[in-house]
Each structure stands twice: as C-alpha cells, then as structure tokens.
C-alpha cells in the first residue's frame, strides 16, 4: 500500500525550512555596531549654561547703574568694595543691595589663583540673592 501523497508533504517541509534559514545574525551584528556607536558617541550628561553675554554698551556709562566690586582672593576670602565679608554674610549683603532704588551691578573680580569653580559658586550666590546683573571682571 503506497503512502497517501509523499511529494506534497515534502514540499511543505522544504518551504518551512527555507523560511527558517533567513538568518538574524547579520541584523544582530549591525544592531550591535549601532549600539556600540551610540554608546561611545553620545553623552548622557546634561549640561547647564550660564549666560555671559557682553553688555550692550561697552563704554563706561556715566548714568549707568552703580557698580559694586566683589573681589575673591586667592585663598577664597571675599571682600565687597574693599571691606572683608564673610561667606555667610554675602547673601544678606546682596539682598540689601537689591533694595536700593537703582539695583547696582555686581562686578566679580577673581584674583590670581582663583579657580573657575570658586568664581562660579560666588556668581551663583550673588544671583541667588536676587542680583540680576552680575558680571565677571578680569583681575590681575
């Protein structure tokens, strides 16, 4: 007794195996390469930015807002208009300045040997106390 229909069954089998033969390996390779590329090339750290735009007028304005000089010494000590000021008193002194009729410009003047982190921290303090117009000036 011959089997029912062997050739048909055979073609079915073959088709199935042909489908399985489409290999995923090249796809995985490419995906891995893309993954490694994005891992190396992209940076996840989100940076912030301090706006340090040049003032609109470079000329010394006669009628401009009064300026207050805040110096940072090499050892980190602060002085405001020549008077030493404690780290803790800075916020209050700045808040007092904002109560003036014309809010002064605070010019931050880091001395030689002051690193950027210190200058930025002081700038942060000054701005946190409500001074809208703080500037950095080059010291000697």
């Amino acid at each position: 007794m011959p089997p029912p229909s062997p050739p048909q069954r055979l073609t079915l089998e073959r088709r199935r195996s042909a489908r399985a033969r489409i290999s995923l390996t090249p796809l995985i390779d490419v995906v891995f390469i893309l993954l490694v590329f994005f891992m190396l090339a992209s940076n996840l750290a989100e940076h912030r930015a301090i706006r340090l735009d040049a003032p609109a007028t470079a000329s010394p304005e006669a009628e401009g807002p009064p300026a207050v000089l805040l110096r940072i010494a090499a050892d980190g000590a602060l002085d405001l208009n020549g008077e030493p000021i404690a780290e803790g008193g800075l916020g209050e002194a700045m808040a007092r300045l904002t109560r003036h009729e014309r809010e002064p410009v605070v010019v931050i003047h880091p001395g030689a040997g002051v690193d950027l982190q210190r200058a930025v921290s002081v700038l942060d303090r000054v701005e946190a106390a409500g001074i809208a117009n703080a500037r950095l000036m080059r010291g000697e």
């Binding site: 994005f38 950095l136 080059r138």
Partner: protein, 134 residues
C-alpha cells in the same frame, strides 16, 4: 553521523531572541537619551552651578583645559587667534559655548570671554553641570 546532526540541532534552542530584544531596547535608549556630539580635544570638566538654564548645542564650542590650553572644536589655538577662529566657525549668529575646566584659573576663562567679546561675539554661554547633591 546521526549523532552529530542531533548535537548541532541541540545548540540552536539557546534562543538569541531575548538578547536581541534587550540590545534593541538599549540601542533605542542611547539613541533617544544621548546626544551625539563631537569629541573633546582634551578633558574639561565643567564647574558645578545652580543654574537652571539648559545648554543647547551651538555651532562653536571653546574649550579651556586646566592649565589654560585653548581649543575651538578640535583645533588647538591661542588666545590671540581665538576670536577669528570662532568667528569663522560660527556661521549664524547663535551663541558660542565655553566649556572650561572647573580647576582652570578664573582669570584665564575671563580672558577667553574678553577675547570673544573683542571679536564681536556677544552671546556666550559658560557650560556648567548641576550640583551632585541636588
């Protein structure tokens, strides 16, 4: 012969599909969460700050290293040539970013800012990173 064939077949049940799924997920994460940016000419770790403003990409980035070396993009430069180089790089009128190391001398960074202003570049952003503890 038969035995060899069977061993081959037994290896395939270790499915790669979950691995591929994971790799796809991680790939999509890095594509969406990260930003592809040009490599830095040298290490420059921005200072910590409470600033809230997000840093946006800009056409030109000035790097300041710890000891004061300068670069615009990948090109190393000096303070004298900085302004012209940045002006060439910056096609439109967008802001210029300054990425300075937190331990660089503050006066060196201010000198860079002054050089940019002398080159008539008015919009400058100093890159910082949010404080660790906040």
């Amino acid at each position: 012969m038969m035995k060899l064939q069977r061993r081959h077949k037994e290896r395939s049940p270790v499915s790669l599909t979950p691995l591929i799924d994971m790799v796809f997920v991680v790939l999509i994460f890095f594509m969406l969460a990260g930003r592809v940016s040009a490599p830095m000419p040298f290490e420059a770790k921005p200072p910590e700050s409470d600033q809230e403003r997000r840093a946006r990409n800009s056409a030109a980035t000035v790097y300041v290293a710890v000891e004061g070396r300068l670069a615009v993009g990948q090109t190393k430069t000096t303070l004298g040539k900085l302004g012209g180089l940045v002006r060439d790089r910056r096609g439109d009128d967008g802001p210029v970013r300054v990425r300075a190391d937190e331990d660089a001398a503050a006066n060196r960074v201010i000198a860079v800012l002054a050089a940019l202003r002398n080159a008539d570049i008015r919009q400058v952003r100093l890159l910082t990173k949010p404080a660790e503890n906040s």
